[in-house]
């Protein structure tokens, strides 16, 4: 089967709990929060005053990505977010209750929708191009990515800015803790045989283009999503076959193991049956668990493929730098996704 031409990743930027600097403090398990930059370096101060935390994180990551690409005006803006702007939503709902639904101010309400981040990026850039936000639970980032690929292959845009982002607020953390999603103690993400994981958040943006440039850092070869799949190893095998690849062509499996003993076996099954003997590495010890964590994984894969700084000890000691990375992630065995990336 002929494979479609690749899409190139010409820039990437991430704001996450993980910092590349060696002097960074250790990650605060079990709830990881983003290391935030000085937003004034990225966003017009007049706009910052109305932005909630996730809007600032997303907008700053988008601007950093465009700066790296040297692109002022993207041909499309696509964002994927599961939770959207929770802080604004909470603020608005709180005021509704506290003020008996009277004298409500507009800002939090206006900013509470999922597409606020994409809109703020467009406002900042004065960009009137195609702008879409995907709020498809844990497929949000992958679907934004798919939309970008379709746009670029149909030549509807010369390039596309694509990002995945989510925040964890105090209220959300408290609510999700009641559902036993998180480890009760300050366990490490990769701790064995315990239930629950660590909470995370982050934003990662990419500039995609059908054209390879000197700045190209990686190739996006394929993306696929699977809703409650019964036999994921078989799906992975079919996915590889579709891309004319054997399991041995994959140099690294970047998997979303999150230390939750209830679900990590699913990753082992894929590794054992679909990708035997392929080196594997996790990423959620760096970003925590959140529905758009695949965006961070994609950013990390780009770092690896382009030979940039990566966390010490992350990669298995094979002596060779990976040239093809398969990201396999699932969110509570409901939303499974595969993202295949190649070197520049």
């Amino acid at each position: 089967m002929p494979t479609p031409p690749p899409i190139y990743l010409n820039a990437s930027a991430s704001i996450s709990p993980y910092a590349l600097e060696e002097t960074s403090p250790p990650l605060p398990y079990p709830r990881l929060r983003c290391i935030e930059p000085d937003y004034k370096d990225f966003i017009d101060p007049r706009m910052i005053r109305r932005m909630s935390r996730v809007v600032k994180i997303g907008t700053a990551a988008a601007v950093a990505c465009l700066r790296e690409a040297g692109v002022d005006m993207p041909g499309a803006i696509l964002t994927g977010t599961t939770y959207g702007c929770l802080e604004d939503t909470e603020q608005f709902l709180h005021k509704m209750v506290a003020q008996n639904e009277e004298m409500l101010t507009p800002t939090a309400f206006i900013q509470s929708t999922h597409n606020t981040i994409g809109a703020q990026i467009a406002l900042l850039l004065q960009c009137h191009a195609y702008n879409n936000t995907y709020a498809h639970r844990a497929f949000s980032f992958e679907h934004a990515l798919l939309d970008a690929v379709l746009l670029l292959r149909e030549k509807e845009a010369p390039n596309a800015l694509v990002g995945g982002l989510d925040e964890i607020t105090d209220v959300l953390y408290c609510v999700l803790s009641r559902f036993d999603l998180y480890k009760p103690a300050a366990d490490h993400a990769t701790a064995d045989a315990s239930e629950g994981t660590i909470a995370g958040e982050g934003a990662a943006f990419f500039l995609l283009s059908p054209e390879k440039t000197p700045a190209t850092t990686a190739q996006l070869l394929d993306v696929a999503t699977f809703y409650k799949p019964e036999n994921m190893p078989e799906r992975v095998a079919v996915f590889l076959q579709k891309n004319n690849l054997a399991a041995s062509d994959i140099d690294l499996l970047l998997w979303g193991k999150n230390g939750d003993s209830r679900y990590d076996g699913l990753y082992d099954a894929v590794a054992e049956h679909a990708l035997p003997s392929i080196p594997a590495a996790g990423f959620k010890q760096l970003c925590g668990e959140y529905p758009t964590a695949a965006a961070f994984a994609t950013w990390l894969a780009v770092q690896i493929l382009s030979g940039k700084t990566i966390p010490k000890g992350l990669l298995p000691n094979t002596g060779v730098l990976p040239k093809k990375i398969l990201i396999y992630n699932h969110f509570y065995n409901i939303h499974h996704s595969l993202i295949l990336l190649g070197g520049p």
Binding site: P45, I48, R49, R50, M103, L104, T105, P106, T107, I110
Partner: protein, 86 residues
């Protein structure tokens, strides 16, 4: 009037989250919109709610908005006039 204007400046900063702006930096007669403090239509809505919430003033005619919100002094004058008549 002076203390009301000081109070208004502090409340405007909080309500509109005007980072890096102190009450002393807002002139009594400085235009609030456009070239002055640079406020916009969303801020106007916030200011309307602020007047209602903190001073019990409801602006009956929206067309009066531009005159009322011209500066801190014009807002203070409007509050003074309407609190007296209330």
């Amino acid at each position: 009037m002076e203390s009301l204007m000081q109070d208004l400046k502090a409340k405007i900063i909080v309500q509109l989250n005007l980072q890096d702006v102190s009450p002393e930096q807002i002139g009594d007669d400085q235009p609030l919109f456009m070239e002055g403090l640079g406020l916009d239509s969303i801020d106007a809505l916030e200011l309307i709610v602020m007047l209602q919430q903190h001073y019990g003033i409801r602006i009956a005619n929206p067309e009066d908005g531009p005159k009322i919100f011209q500066s801190v002094r014009t807002i203070a004058e409007y509050i003074t006039a309407h609190q007296k008549t209330a």
